[in-house]
Symmetry: C2
């Protein structure tokens, strides 16, 4: 962030009066530019005993598998955002969205909210950001080819809970993936 969104003049980094952290501040019109974490909303779509995954057509994670998820937009509820993302990435329609996980990705200032949900039908197909979408049984999940750590964590918790027959609401901190 280099220029003021209000007057176009160069910004400086400064702790505003009454604040306790450095912000981008405009020394000309005094606008403070707050930067806040972004919310990502996604889901674990169930069909009978199977789970829907999408093969990514874009970076990051091109060619890897993921759950439908993306940035929440202004004016949306978190469930509406999760429905929209499932539609955009897989033309999948969802029922019975239930909060399942709150995942902190503090290293990229993102918070994921993941839902469990049911697919309404199997009339899904790849959206523009997906190369392929398909249902997976648990023993078919491509664990080594999942796009993001938060997806791996969501699915690990999900199958663990499913075995127990009890789905808790989870809250976890996700660390950056270790690259070997």
């Amino acid at each position: 962030m280099k220029f003021c969104t209000n007057c176009g003049k160069p910004l400086i980094e400064q702790i505003p009066i009454g604040d306790d952290r450095v912000r981008y501040v405009c020394p000309f019109c005094n606008t403070v530019h707050y930067e806040n974490p972004k919310m990502v909303v996604g889901c674990i779509p169930e069909w009978k005993n199977q789970i829907l995954l999408c093969k990514r057509a874009i970076e990051p994670g091109l060619g890897k598998w993921t759950l439908p998820a993306g940035y929440l937009e202004k004016g949306e509820s978190v469930a509406e955002g999760a429905r929209r993302e499932a539609w955009e990435e897989a033309y999948a329609r969802l029922n019975h969205l239930t909060p399942y996980g709150i995942f902190n990705l503090a290293f990229v200032s993102q918070v994921y909210i993941m839902f469990r949900c049911q697919l309404i039908d199997t009339d899904f197909r790849p959206g523009e950001e997906s190369l392929s979408v398909r249902l997976f049984n648990e023993d078919e999940i491509p664990w080594a080819d999942l796009a993001f750590t938060v997806i791996e964590k969501s699915l690990t918790l999900y199958f663990h809970d499913r075995k127990k027959g009890i789905f808790a609401v989870h809250m976890e901190d996700i660390e950056p993936r270790q690259r070997l």
Copy 2:
């Protein structure tokens, strides 16, 4: 938003290629300025049978009562943010934070995540944004003087669940308050 944060030139409103909604776009350097909902994190601090509320020293809601809550900052987990807000507003220290509610305030593009938690001690006092902080029994809650609808909803659900002895994780859409 009027000027580009990257080059300081005037922005236009446009649907970027591959996108489906209007964004602020710079016609000079092509930077797309995404605007996303903000997360608010807060808590319902318990001490024995009582709940901690703060009387607001600032607008909006000056002089009204609220639960400790505020914007999540970059690099924080949602629980860390809730702890920080309780400290800033009431010098309250928290234990055992448990997710309790996800509240959509789509009309202001905010998502609240509220926790239940225990106060570690009663050594709390007003922070800069509070006129007063104190513990309330259920029958003392100043329902007519709560600052925000989402606080009223959080407390209503909380006391309802407490009577049943079962605390669910709630997800609710909050509508703008009706002014009579």
